[in-house]
Amino acid sequence: MEVMYLLIAASLTLATGFVIAFIWAIKNGQYDDKYTPSVRILFDDEKQEKKSEKDQNDENNNEK
């Protein structure tokens, strides 16, 4: 039954990891606006003729 100690340690570590992720998500402001991100993900990146504009667009999209 000693394996129990290992199992408990493993599961608690995993669970704690999730709690930390949860805390981080909240502090990161992910719960401030629950609606707009759902709209934002549906926007397409557009094909740009000018390469420089394309790079700027990609950069802006990654920032969000």
């Binding site: 100690y5 909240i26 719960y31 606006d33 707009t36 934002r40 926007f43 802006n60 920032e63 969000k64």
Partner: protein, 836 residues
């Protein structure tokens, strides 16, 4: 939500087949169906500009289309059909120079360091995905904008930009040009309300939930172990783990309960949170004792579950309607800037910078921001906002005009007499009524119960301890802590939040938006309802119109409609709405349009001179003017001097009022209080009958005093109103309900925002609130039942963690289920919409 800039009358849907059939009617006048504007979707009535196979209703819409296409922003039109905001009537350039004034600019900006600036602009026109897309691609319209992010719920956009390349005034101008005119009212200069973030609550719930789940897992073995029990080594380990998991819950998640209990103790009052805090403490410390003495795994699972459920209850009650503002003061109504004329030069200055003796130029439709005297010969001022009087008042040169009046007619010059903060209107707002935040003397259901609950629990605990002390001292402590643990305020503390959360939600689905759950309780206790008249009981735009005179042709009707379309006078708008009932056909071109306030309008259509206005204006000598009923306004029409007849216009009352008053009368007293004169008295006496009172010509202070008098007599008053003139009364009543025809516009400070269409259901809403209150009481009774069962174990010192772990969840869940089913079933029985 669209079209706040230019009000188009309500459209009556007409079957498509009818429209296509009726392309020419009996008189042979072609009534071609107008094309829809590609940008804003409105029918192209007055103008129809064609380009690239698209139609535009005005040059403004076409300009925005160009602006966006030139920057490659076609996606705006692809994401949604006709996503644009109508640009009709915005040919008047908005001036934003005052934003660059440092005293104003730094208050509006969120952040500024010389190289970067961040501003949050409120753009209430945001209504669809295209809006979000466009505003987040602002950088493609002007590369001084680095990044922009939309917060749809709050109708705001955060813009990061380079202040050296772009001035704040230019940024506001850009937004305005694409149709998203920023809402910059005087209220922006005061620091914005920091909306309380729910993040701390989320954190507390997350931690409590995590702890609860894991503690439960470690406690289960003991419950399921059977007679031989769990291995010694594990019991101890599980116990210690439980303590470790419960610690953050005890020290962090429960903080709000301790704070509230402590505040209550300082005020020498009993409060539910006192019982909760005692229960929490008892559970935690007794568990510590039992774990360290090797007795078991303690009550930590019930403890964590209790905290978790209580916090979830609080979260449930926190429903917010982010787009609606329930708290406005006068500053939200006033514009940020006004045009001041100094030494012959005109500049746009912030309203707060106005000084006495400044000369200001107010344009048609604008609000006069400070008490001022008229410099021009005459002016017509619409005071409906302030006093509820619906006819414009004529002022002569030198007369004093009060702040809050709206100018009707051509641009006029005024001389400021008092600074904005000392105007009559703002003094009204500073009245004591507005300082009252919490209505004293109201007893909420949960408060009533908690007053008795906490002392009762402590009393029983002491009694039990005293009983056991002589015989078995160990049992005394056992019984004492057991009572504190099991006397579950859990179910009690959950009843109100869950019920009120559902009540708020269901009322919201029926277009009755309440500020918070407590408002529902106050609505339930109300026994008196006071109604304002203009705009509340009457439509603001629609009216009852009939025509008296010689026969009038279809063509003439079209002519009148086209002429009247250009006027913003309340009677013109009502006439236009009436004439547009059978669909919005194309308008005829109108030339030489001119408006003469106090007299009428004149224009030329097809070479003929059309006049619409007073009897004198169309050429009827005064003695020959027909008699009219006091509540009717008469608008005469003449073509080339030949009088066609008159339109009799009466204000139209919203539908369903008769039933509303008769239903209300069964349970409550109701009154009418109006700022308008008493010309409608006869019409209204049918409804208001003898069981009520009607008062007219009431100033805002009169309204406030009336409500106060009623309250002092012990009545619980609900006030229903819509304008600035009602604001004082709304605030001082127990429940202030403001009627909104369009929730995108402002509403005065109130507890409830009711959409105009839902007004006839007011009695049902009050009835529903009453039922909700009853549900709260019944669920209190249910939880008392559980308490009795639990206490029977506690006082006999036979309480065990297992029993606790069963009773607590069962009682909590049954209360939650009961309140949920109860509120939803009541709603359905009343005919309210419960599910979307």
């Amino acid at each position: 939500m669209k079209n706040n800039l230019y009000q188009t009358p309500a459209k009556i849907p007409v079957a498509d087949e009818l429209l296509s059939e009726a392309s020419t009617n009996l008189n042979g006048v072609s009534k071609k169906e107008p094309a829809a504007c590609h940008h804003c979707g409105d029918p192209c009535l007055a103008e129809d500009i064609e380009e690239d196979d698209y139609h535009f209703c005005c040059a403004g819409c076409q300009t925005v289309y160009h602006l966006l296409s030139d920057s490659g922003l076609h996606t705006y039109y692809k994401l949604e059909d006709t996503p644009g905001i109508s640009m009709k009537g915005s040919d008047r350039k908005k001036r934003y120079e005052h934003l660059d004034d440092p005293s104003v600019m730094y208050k509006i900006l969120d952040f500024y360091d010389g190289k970067n600036a961040k501003v949050t602009m409120r753009t209430p026109q945001i209504h669809c995905n295209s809006c979000v897309w466009l505003l987040e691609n602002l950088h493609r319209l002007n590369d001084a904008v680095k990044k922009s992010e939309v917060f749809f719920g709050k109708r705001e956009v955060e813009i990061f930009y380079d202040p050296n390349k772009l001035k704040l005034s230019e940024l506001a101008g850009l937004l305005s040009r694409i149709g998203y005119e920023p809402d910059l009212s005087l209220g922006r200069l005061d620091q914005k309300e920091e909306k309380k973030s729910l993040n701390p609550l989320y954190l507390k719930i997350g931690i409590a939930g995590f702890a609860f789940g894991n503690i439960m897992l470690f406690s289960l073995p003991e419950y399921l172990a059977g007679s031989e029990g769990v291995d010694r080594q594990f019991i101890h380990l599980f116990g210690l783990l439980n303590i470790a998991l419960a610690l953050p819950v005890f020290l962090y998640s429960s903080i709000d309960f301790y704070r509230s209990a402590w505040l209550s103790v300082q005020q020498k009052q009993w409060n539910m949170d006192i019982a909760i805090s005692l229960g929490i403490a008892a559970m935690f410390f007794r568990s510590l004792y039992e774990i360290f003495s090797g007795y078991g795994v303690g009550y930590m699972d019930s403890f964590a579950m209790l905290v978790f459920l209580l916090l979830v209850g609080r979260l449930f009650q926190h429903k917010t309607y982010e787009t609606l503002s329930f708290d406005r003061d006068y500053k939200a109504y006033f514009p940020l800037s006004v045009i001041r004329s100094k030494n012959g030069e005109e500049e746009s200055v912030p309203v707060t910078n106005l000084e006495v003796d400044d000369e200001v130029v107010i344009r048609s439709g604008e609000l006069i921001p400070a008490d001022a005297t008229l410099l021009d010969d005459e002016a017509h001022i619409d005071y409906s906002f302030v006093s509820g009087e619906s006819d414009p008042v004529k002022a002569s040169k030198g007369g004093l005009i009060y702040a809050g009046g709206r100018l009707y007619g051509a641009s006029t010059r005024f001389k400021v007499e008092k600074p904005v903060s000392q105007s009559y209107l703002t003094r009204l707002w500073n009245n004591a009524a507005f300082q009252k935040t919490e209505k004293e003397g109201v007893r909420y259901a949960s408060q009533k119960v908690s007053r008795y609950f906490s002392p009762a629990v402590i009393g029983i605990a002491i009694l039990a301890a005293v009983y056991w002390l002589p015989a078995n001292p160990a049992n005394a402590i056992n019984a004492f802590t057991a009572v504190l643990i099991i006397a579950c305020p859990c179910a009690l503390a959950l009843s109100a939040p869950f019920t009120l959360g559902w009540t708020t939600s269901i009322l919201g689905k029926n277009k009755c938006y309440i500020k918070n759950g407590e408002v529902a309780e106050r609505m339930a206790q109300a026994d008196t309802v006071v109604f304002d008249k203009t705009g509340t009981l009457t439509w603001t735009e629609k009216a009852e119109v009939d025509f008296e005179g010689s026969s009038i042709s279809e063509r003439d009707l079209q002519v009148i409609r086209s002429v009247v379309h250009n006027s913003t006078h309340p009677l013109s708008r009502k006439l236009y709405a009436h004439l547009s009932v059978s669909g919005e056909g194309k308008l005829l071109p109108v030339s030489n349009y001119e408006e003469f306030p106090g007299k009428g309008i004149e224009a030329e259509v097809d070479g003929k001179i059309i006049r619409v206005g007073s009897g004198k204006w169309v050429g009827i000598p005064e003695q020959q003017e027909p008699q009219k009923a006091p509540e009717t306004s008469q608008v005469f029409v003449s073509v080339d001097g030949q009088i066609l007849g008159q339109y009799n216009i009466r204000s139209a009352y919203r539908p369903g009022l008769k039933e509303l008053f008769s239903d209300l009368g069964k349970r409550a007293k109701y009154y009418l209080i109006s700022g308008d004169n008493d010309r409608e008295k006869d019409r209204l006496s049918d409804w208001f009958g003898t069981a009520s009172e009607m008062r007219f010509n009431q100033t805002p202070e009169d309204k406030l005093k009336f409500i106060d008098a009623l309250s002092n007599d012990g009545a619980h008053v609900v006030m229903v109103g819509d304008g600035l003139n009602d604001a004082g009364a709304l605030k001082s009543s127990d429940v202030g309900i403001s009627i909104a025809e369009d929730t995108g516009n402002f509403t005065p400070a109130s507890d409830v925002i009711l959409e105009a269409d839902s007004l006839p259901q007011l009695e049902k809403f009050m009835s529903f609130s009453r039922k909700s209150l009853n549900i709260i009481y019944i669920s209190f009774a249910i939880s008392v039942l559980y308490n009795i069962i639990g206490l029977s174990y506690a006082v006999t010192a036979t309480l065990s963690p297992l029993i606790c772990a069963i009773i607590m969840p069962v009682s909590s869940i049954s209360v939650i289920l009961f309140t949920t089913l109860g509120t939803n079933l009541s709603a359905q029985k009343l005919g309210l919409r419960a599910w979307k």
